[in-house]
């Protein structure tokens, strides 16, 4: 479409010649194919989970007690697992989010260029790459062997998983807060703790909250850290601090290898519930970012 002036010219400087143009187009097509290749499994898995799980979901399914595997999905539900997931993940968040935010504050506000802060930052990054199964085995060796299986042990394992994620996202968000804001507060005579808690942290709170929510979303779906720490049971255990517990993710893991259609249907229903929880957390995180983001990239 740019080849208007090419009448008089011997060499067309504007349009790449045939083969070069074809290669360029092939490359673009290749990139779109890559995108479609990614969409196919996502669409496939979402379609399957929704089509097989939606029919199972009801109030009774979300609150009823877990029946024996041979019974069809119309009997009972997965109430203990829903309860376990919420309580175990909730308690893990209560531990990991405040500690993670404090750790992020240390690295960015107090650490400066000190070696210790750089080392902590580096290893927090490395720790995000440690497989979640390691966290489960770690809590097993250090806690379960001495105090027995419990929901609390599961919370510890999930908290170990969330801690580095929260630290890193807090650090990244605090880094975006302009220094002039801190300096203005110091000029008013505020102490460092006061500046951090009343000026710097509120300025970055949108990103920090959304980072924390994404960590919660990731932890809620985790199975491997729980398998070694809560010793899956079928009945509800309201005591987080002692005795075996259960969760949606471990229930799916168990039922996936069951031959009974009822057990499998409960697994699909639980999968839909779990995905819904994760998606809701993700959407809330997006909304929080959109609403409170003051210093974006």
């Amino acid at each position: 479409m740019m080849a208007i002036a090419s009448e008089q010219q011997t060499v067309d400087l504007r349009e790449p010649s045939g083969w070069r143009r074809t290669k360029n187009q092939l490359a673009t097509v290749g990139m779109w194919i890559a995108f479609v290749v990614m969409l196919v499994p996502l669409g496939f898995v979402l379609f399957t989970v929704i089509s097989k799980g939606a029919s199972a979901i009801s109030w009774q399914f979300l609150t009823g007690s877990i029946p024996v595997n041979v019974l069809p999905v119309t009997y009972g539900g997965v109430g203990p697992a829903v309860y376990g997931t919420l309580v175990i993940t909730g308690f893990a968040s209560l531990m990991a989010i405040p500690l993670g935010i404090l750790g992020g504050i240390y690295i960015n506000e107090y650490g400066g260029n000190h070696l210790l802060a750089r080392v902590i930052n580096f290893f927090a990054d490395v720790m995000t790459g440690v497989p979640s199964i390691i966290m489960g085995l770690f809590i097993f060796t250090i806690w379960v062997l001495h105090f027995g299986y419990s929901g609390l042990a599961g919370s510890f394992a999930l908290a170990c998983l969330m801690l580095p994620i929260v630290i890193r996202s807090t650090y990244e968000m605090l880094r975006l807060v302009p220094n002039s804001l801190r300096e203005a507060s110091y000029a008013l005579g505020a102490t460092k703790a006061r500046v951090t808690l009343t000026v710097t942290l509120p300025a970055a709170i949108g990103g920090i909250v959304s980072g924390a929510l994404l960590a919660v979303a990731r932890a809620a779906g985790e199975t491997a850290p729980l398998v070694f720490t809560i010793l899956v049971t079928q009945t509800i255990n309201k005591n987080l601090f002692s005795g075996p517990n259960t969760a949606l993710s471990t229930l799916i893991f168990q039922n996936a290898t069951q031959p009974y259609t009822g057990a499998q249907a409960r697994a699909w229903g639980s999968a839909l519930t779990l995905i819904a929880i994760a998606f809701i957390l993700m959407i809330v995180a997006r909304l929080v970012t959109a609403r409170f983001a003051r210093y974006d990239h």
């Binding site: 290669k23 360029n24 092939l26 490359a27 673009t28 990139m31 779109w32 194919i33 890559a34 995108f35 990614m38 499994p41 496939f44 898995v45 399957t48 404090l102 750790g103 504050i105 240390y106 107090y110 210790l116 902590i120 290893f123 990054d125 490395v126 720790m127 790459g129 440690v130 497989p131 979640s132 199964i133 390691i134 966290m135 085995l137 770690f138 060796t141 250090i142 801690l163 630290i167 005579g189 505020a190 102490t191 460092k192 703790a193 006061r194 808690l197 979303a217 779906g221 199975t223 491997a224 398998v227 993710s249 799916i252 893991f253 996936a256 290898t257 999968a271 779990l274 995905i275 994760a278």
Partner: protein, 329 residues
């Protein structure tokens, strides 16, 4: 909110007067609190190494190095060789990377170079959706939907390639199963695509606009610009992103445990069932109540920990070095 309140009560307004030499107690204790939270990372990592090594010591002492790195896995007869699992971990992670690498690079180039910004946003959301689908849901889908469907395809490929020299070593053979190395590799590829994509996108986004414009000014097509300006600049960072993806693929547990087929064998036939380190730990931990069996499973956790730490350290080093070089340039 509550933290703000606590700090307010801890720091009386007058103590912050400009004439105070010593920093007020509340101010110093907040710093110590933050430092403690930061140190927790180092403490946890150290404790992981110490406590897990302790608990797995009997495996290394009773089996010795030759026993640990043997192919013989038979818990009923006290043989705990980890080689089949190390092999399975490497093979499935390699399949995952080979598939995920071109897809991730393609998507990140699409997002940075082709699609305008306002259309890139929704694509990023879709990738995030892929990232939050839990591992166990991929496993459930893999074993109940994908594996039975792939079984037939594997079988026809295997019989079609029967006798073809190189290909039949990998894709032929007897005992083809829907739950296999290859299925596990496929699922892992899907699971690591979001992280590899977002990391390489970050790297590619740091390519200076002037490099791109320079290439265009010389008359390059978009593809030539990518090859000549974007790729040399982001090569090292992309390698780092792929390494981090590799670490994720090796440690991925539940999805692999469900679809890998649970068979401690070493074979070149990728359509045959196999096993990986995290998968065997998750599947057999319940039966390993005491003794060397449990120590062996925890010991494989130690191996996995060491391998992923090494991969993460080298990936980080590569990314940092390339970042420093591009900043200096």
């Amino acid at each position: 909110m509550s933290m703000t309140a606590r700090a307010d009560s801890a720091i009386p307004a007058e103590s912050a007067s400009p004439l105070t030499r010593r920093r007020p107690f509340g101010d110093r204790s907040f710093q110590v609190l933050c430092l403690a939270a930061g140190l927790l990372v180092l403490i946890i990592l150290a404790l992981i190494a110490i406590s897990m090594t302790q608990q797995s010591a009997t495996w290394f002492t009773t089996e010795g190095w030759s026993g640990v790195f043997s192919t013989d896995w038979d818990p009923a007869h006290n043989a705990f060789g980890a080689l089949p699992f190390i092999y399975g971990t490497l093979v499935t992670a390699a399949i995952a990377i080979i598939i995920a690498f071109p897809v991730s690079i393609g998507i990140s180039l699409l997002l940075t170079e082709v699609v305008p910004r306002r259309f890139a946003r929704p694509i990023v959301y879709v990738i995030d959706l892929l990232a939050v689908v839990p591992s166990v849901v991929w496993g459930l889908w893999g074993i109940l939907v994908l594996a039975p469907w792939l079984q037939g395809i594997y079988q026809s490929i295997a019989s079609g390639l029967n006798g073809v020299p190189v290909l039949s070593t990998f894709f032929g053979g007897q005992g083809v199963s829907g739950a296999s190395f290859f299925t596990a590799g496929l699922i892992l590829a899907v699971m690591i695509t979001p992280i590899v994509t977002s990391l390489s996108r970050e790297v590619i986004a740091t390519v200076p606009a002037i490099d791109r414009e320079g290439a265009y000014a010389l008359g390059a097509t978009r593809w030539e610009m990518i090859r000549g300006a974007v790729w040399p600049h982001s090569q090292a960072g992309v390698v780092g992103a792929v390494l981090l993806g590799l670490g994720r693929a090796m440690g991925e547990t539940i999805a692999a445990a469900l679809v890998i087929g649970s068979s401690a064998t070493i074979t070149t036939h990728l359509f045959n069932p196999g096993y990986s380190m995290p998968a065997v730990i998750a599947n057999e931990f319940g039966e390993a109540t005491v003794g060397v069996f449990r120590a062996a499973l925890i010991g494989m956790g130690v191996l996995l920990f060491v391998i992923t730490i090494i991969i993460n350290l080298s990936a980080r080093a590569i990314v940092d070095r390339s970042a420093r070089r591009s900043r200096g340039a």
